[in-house]
């Protein structure tokens, strides 16, 4: 085995940057040095990750670098380690490379913000946490990263902590994520009790020792964490509100990387999930439902960032659906391509926001293509990719999922297929209203609108270029990920024969599906087979409908809204999830707590405590009355007492 010790640089380089900025940022580095330190920190780790990625490509295999023992647990040691294999290498590259460009963008976006060093300290810390999550070889370190990214996400959503809305959104994200983490942690405990270890590879090896329902329970509990982190129904409500954070945060954390952690986790633990068809079905249905529901909500929102946020939730649903269909590599490929084009969409939106001075309502924009040509063009690339138009990455990563669903479960296919049409519609509704359309922009602002500086447009161009070519690497991805996500190609050191047999339980559902892995072949098939044409036409129809309604205004959107009032209300009010949660879990919980405090602590417990105190005092006072100081009274008391005792004595006798 070659020396891969340099891999420690990958997570720790951003951490060091974060510490440097945290300590020296406010007094010495300030702006722009803090940003530059952060960019250097993450760029170093990106370079190391790419080198390591290529190393795995050439030599294959798994490298497990144990850094130190975190905690001994009987015979088992929880370690801090770096597991470097195709899956973690790919994810690390996605995280670090996209982070690098978002960091560069952020040096422009955050210009002049008072908390500039704080922002970059947090952002670097985020990359560290995300990489600890990615590179972990056991469930506890995964949980460390998992909660760590949650913390930074919380801090960055609440970045503008003077605003009540930002603080509430941050609070909501932390709490909702913690609900998922609760489930996740119980899953970790169950796994430890069952397997006596928390290292992935040891768990995979011992899988056949556990019963079907035990594995299912572990998988479902762990998936509960993914539901929270990746904003799937029913723990999705935090993600749209998370858009209170600065836009680079939305791009990096709430689109490209952190929210995809759930998808990554399921792929990472694929042998566990694939061993239980019940678990896979749960992943499939939750993913599909989220993909569909989020797409419907995205149709009618007016906030530019929230639309993209619902789109993120929807696309994460597609990834989970792919995994639930037993097509894990498709899921990871869509994760990669989505990370690229969704980061692009968010950054372009950020560029727009800088241009229009942070107006978020898309009905107050328009014509921006004239003033911001690069932003508009790159956004268009992202939108086409999201809609699934070839040759952009989204087409090669999303359409195979929809087609696979058709062969496996037609109900799922139906929802994913409709969802794809809706996706194309809502993103182009956004595009037309913001960049084309009439003239809704405030004239005062209009005077100042101009294209963003180079450090913001450069990342846009790079990401747009990546979005354009990434899809053609489809076959490369399949070859690369096969040793970790395809039982037939897995080495025995990763999962022994018995485990592979177990996985057939879940994966057999996808056995008869044959979708070309080569990009060109897939493109040709899509253009020739009825199913492929149907999918493609649906996307085009979505775009065309948006064009007719919002650009040509042949169909009146007002009329549409009136005609489908109940549906519109349902979508606009986000299927009433938020209303319900706030009524029951927020107001209800607070009311119950207050009630319990008054009744339980104050009335009952303190009533008894203070009451017994008062009783003692009261008895004392009453008894004091007998101490009159008159001899005759004392004699009387004495006589009475003697009579009583005498009586008692005689009675007993």
């Amino acid at each position: 085995m070659e020396n891969l010790n340099y891999l420690w640089i990958i997570p720790f380089s951003p951490l060091i940057a974060s510490i440097i900025i945290g300590i020296f940022g406010f007094k010495f580095l300030k702006e722009p040095l803090s940003g530059i330190v952060a960019v250097i920190g993450v760029a170093i780790s990106a370079v190391a990750a790419v080198i390591g990625f290529l190393h795995v490509h050439e030599h294959g295999g798994h490298y497990d670098l144990k850094l130190f023992t975190w905690m001994p647990l009987g015979d088992y040691n929880i370690t801090v380690s770096l597991l470097w294999d195709p899956l973690s290498a790919l994810m690390s590259c996605v995280v670090t490379v996209i982070s690098t460009f978002i960091f560069i963008f952020a040096t422009g976006y955050m210009r002049g913000e008072p908390g500039y060093p704080r922002f970059f300290a947090y952002l670097s810390l985020f990359v560290f946490m995300m990489l600890m999550l990615t590179l972990s070889d056991n469930l506890v370190q995964l949980f460390f990263g998992w909660e760590g990214v949650g913390l930074v996400s919380y801090l960055l959503i609440g970045y503008y902590h003077n605003k009540r809305s930002a603080v509430n959104a941050a609070f909501e994200s932390f709490i909702v994520n913690r609900v998922g983490d609760w489930s996740f942690l119980i899953g970790v405990l169950l796994a430890f009790v069952v397997f006596g270890t928390l290292d992935y590879l040891d768990i995979f090896a011992k899988l056949p020792e556990a019963g079907y329902w035990t594995i299912t329970a572990i998988a479902l509990l762990l998936f509960g964490g993914a539901v929270g982190k990746s904003a799937q129904i029913p723990l999705h409500i935090w993600l749209p509100n998370a858009m209170e954070g600065p836009t680079p945060v939305s791009a990096l954390i709430h689109a490209a990387t952190m929210v995809a952690a759930g998808v990554y986790m399921v792929a990472r633990l694929m042998p566990i999930f694939a061993s239980s068809s019940v678990a896979l079905d749960t992943v499939l249905y939750i993913g599909t439902a989220s993909a569909f529901v989020a797409a419907t909500i995205g149709l009618v929102q007016n906030d530019i960032k929230r639309i993209i946020a619902y789109s993120t939730m929807s696309q994460l649903g597609y990834m989970f659906a792919a995994e639930g269909l037993g097509r894990f590599i498709d899921g990871m490929f869509h994760l990669t391509s989505h990370a690229t084009f969704k980061a692009l969409l968010f950054l372009a939106a950020g560029s727009v926001l800088i241009g229009v001075h942070h107006i978020l309502n898309i009905w107050k924009m328009g014509q921006l293509r004239k003033y911001m040509p690069i932003t508009a063009a790159t956004f268009l690339v992202g939108a086409l990719s999201l809609a699934g138009i070839p040759p952009f990455a989204g087409f090669f990563s999303k359409d195979p999922i929809i087609e696979a669903a058709y062969h496996i479960n037609w109900v799922v296919w139906l929802f994913l297929w409709i969802g794809a049409g809706l996706t194309a519609f809502y993103i182009f509704r956004l595009y037309f209203l913001v960049f084309e359309d009439g003239d809704h922009l405030d004239p005062h602002i209009k005077k100042h609108v101009h294209e963003s500086p180079w450090n913001m447009t450069m990342p846009l161009i790079v990401l747009a270029a990546a979005t354009t070519v990434l899809g053609f690497f489809r076959e490369f991805f399949f070859e690369y990920l096969r040793p970790v996500l395809d039982p037939r190609a897995m080495p025995d050191s990763y999962a022994p024969e018995a485990t592979k047999k177990l996985m057939e339980e879940g994966l057999s559902r996808a056995e008869h599906v044959h979708i070309p892995e080569d990009a060109i072949e897939f493109l040709i098939e899509s253009l020739t087979s009825p199913l492929g044409i149907l999918t493609l036409l649906t996307a085009l129809a979505g775009i065309f409908a948006a064009y007719l309604i919002y650009q040509k205004q042949v169909i009146s959107y007002k009329w549409l809204g009136e005609t489908f009032r109940p549906l519109y209300n349902l979508f606009y009010n986000r299927w009433y999830f938020d209303h319900f949660y706030y009524a029951v879990f927020v107001r209800g919980y607070l009311k119950l707590s207050k009630f319990l405090w008054y009744v339980g602590d104050k009335l009952i417990i303190d009533g008894i405590v203070d009451g017994s105190g008062k009783l003692a005092v009261w008895t004392g006072h009453k008894l004091a009355l007998t101490q009159t100081g008159r001899i005759s009274a004392y004699v009387l008391q004495m006589l009475i007492a003697m009579a009583i005792f005498l009586g008692l004595f005689l009675l007993i006798k």
Binding site: F26, F68, T69, W70, M71, P72, L73, G74, P114, V140, F143, F144, E147, G148, L151, G158, H161, N162, K163, R164, V167, F171, F174, I175, R178, V179, D181, W182, L185, I186, L189, L190, F192, V193, Y589, L590, L592, S593, K594, L596, W597, G600, D601, I605, D606, V609, G613
Partner: protein, 502 residues
């Protein structure tokens, strides 16, 4: 059960108890300007001794170390007997640390300065004594002795309703102590009748081999005493009252040290002395632990007084210690001890933060606070780290203990572990609410307050000196818990040996 001892080459523990007492006595005759420097120096020496011991302690052995014994009343079998195992040692160390920090922090005492420091010095001696004494007479003397200075600290240097709170504290705990005394005396008498032996030594009383029904009775007697001290639900209402009224340093000691005496009692006495009763009462203790976690989390979110929030959070955290202790397995026991240490750090830090806020804003009510973060970045950062450690974020100290305690509980009962896990959500809810309402949402405070906040000074040198070690320790325990687990592992095994050995 037999014990082995490693006699101390120098009476370090006795010195640690006597030094504060001697200092208190000397202070009595000196001018008040000497009070603070002397207190700091003395507590620093004690802390240095305890830290040195932490490293000098041989954790691979099962011996009671730094052991000293002097016969006192041989007719009744009473000796002065001190020594440490890892549990005593860590609690002793935590006590020394908390007092040092309290002394450094106590700059703003206006009235009766000398008496204030004398009370704290006496309290320190008593607290250390509780954790290192192995003779039950001395244990009980220290246990009771600690009540008086604490009663005075709340009653004299507290806020408006200090008399009510101090009385409540005193009567509550004294009530519990009586049952504890009754239990200990009962055991002593039993020992005389069955073995014809008179000894108040822990190492003799542990070997009584009580019949089951007596075990139950004695367990209940001692448990009542400990449960009030912890405090466990439903004996907890003295704690919020006491914390709300106590001065900052008093709250720090109350949370970091005094609460640990109750859990220390459970771990040190209840489990090894009454193994069968412990097993028998496991479901009861689990239920009480889970109620403490969930119910007091709800209490905490219903509060607007920031010290009361932290006080209730303490009860909630102690629920994990209860769970871990009565899981009666290694993970649980280690988790209970680590949670005790970690809670000592986090609650101390949170009460320092609350006191800091009060000194600046002159209010503990959330409605008078908010929007400070931008003006005091260093304090805001320390406060945030403490909050995160308190809610059990991995990488900080809180997670280690809670994880182990949950794991231990899970091995006994999936249901109770799952219920206790709700603290992940509920704890985060009230703790973050506390932080938000004091530090964030600047837009909602009025101009006058903003003006006031702008004048605020960030942590002063002495405040920094008190706060910073706590933060560092939260990280140390969170990042490298192995060292601490190694330290306490054999002690946990020894404590559980009777329960597990059957």
């Amino acid at each position: 059960m037999t014990f082995e001892f490693e006699p101390a080459s120098f009476p370090w523990l006795t010195i640690s108890i006597l030094l504060p007492l001697i200092a208190a006595a000397i202070l009595f005759f000196l001018d008040k300007k000497w009070a603070k420097p002397i207190s700091i120096v003395v507590s620093a020496i004690v802390f240095a001794i305890s830290t040195w011991m932490l490293f000098a302690y041989d954790y691979s052995s099962y011996k009671i170390q730094f052991y000293e014994k002097y016969v006192w009343i041989p007719q009744f079998g009473v000796s002065y007997e001190v020594g440490v195992d890892a549990l005593s040692l860590t609690m002793y160390w935590l006590t020394a640390l908390s007092f040092l920090i309290s002394f450094i922090w106590s700059t703003n005492i206006k009235k009766r300065v000398k008496e204030y420091f004398i009370a704290f010095l006496v309290l320190e001696a008593a607290c250390i004594g509780v954790f290192v004494a192995w003779d039950l007479v001395f244990f009980y003397i220290f246990w009771e002795a600690m009540l008086i200075p604490m009663f005075l600290i709340i009653g004299v240097w507290g806020y408006a309703e200090r008399i009510y709170a101090a009385t409540k504290f005193f009567i509550y705990t004294f009530f519990g102590s009586l049952f504890l005394l009754l239990g200990v005396v009962g055991l002593y008498v039993y020992q005389y009748f069955h073995y014809g032996k008179l000894s108040t030594s822990y190492f003799d009383l542990i070997n009584l081999n009580l019949p089951f029904n007596l075990e139950i009775i004695f367990f209940l007697l001692l448990a009542l005493g400990f449960a009030i001290k912890v405090p466990m639900w439903p004996f907890h209402t003295w704690l919020p009252a006491a914390h709300v009224q106590a001065p900052t340093a008093g709250s720090v000691i109350l949370a970091a040290v005094l609460l640990k005496m109750g859990t220390y009692g459970f771990v040190r006495f209840s489990v090894p002395w009454f193994p069968e009763a412990s097993k028998y009462f496991m479901p009861v203790m689990f239920t009480l632990g889970v109620i403490a976690i969930i119910y007091t989390a709800m209490m905490a979110i219903a509060q607007t007084h920031i010290k009361r929030v932290i006080a209730y959070s303490s009860v909630s955290h102690m629920g994990f210690v209860t769970l871990g202790t009565f899981a009666l397995n290694m993970e649980g026991m280690n988790g209970a001890i680590i949670t005790m240490i970690s809670h000592g750090l986090t609650s101390a830090a949170l009460f320092l933060a609350a006191g800091w806020i009060y000194e600046r804003a002159h209010s503990y009510e959330m409605k008078d606070l908010g929007g400070m973060a931008r003006y005091v970045p260093v304090f805001a950062t320390f406060f945030m780290i403490s909050v995160m450690a308190s809610v059990g974020l991995p990488g900080l100290s809180g997670f280690v203990g809670e994880f182990l305690a949950l794991l231990g509980t899970f091995k006994q009962s999936i249901l109770f572990a799952a219920l206790a896990g709700s603290a992940l959500v509920l704890g985060a809810a009230y703790t973050l609410r506390l932080y938000h309402n004091t530090m964030f949402v600047e837009d909602e405070i009025d101009e006058e307050k903003k003006h006031k906040w702008r004048q605020l000074k960030d942590l002063t040198a002495s405040e920094f000196l008190a706060f910073f070690p706590l933060i560092v320790l939260m990280f140390i325990i969170g990042i490298y818990p192995k060292w601490w687990i190694d330290l306490i592992n054999n002690t946990s095994a020894a404590i559980l040996s009777k329960v597990l050995g059957g």
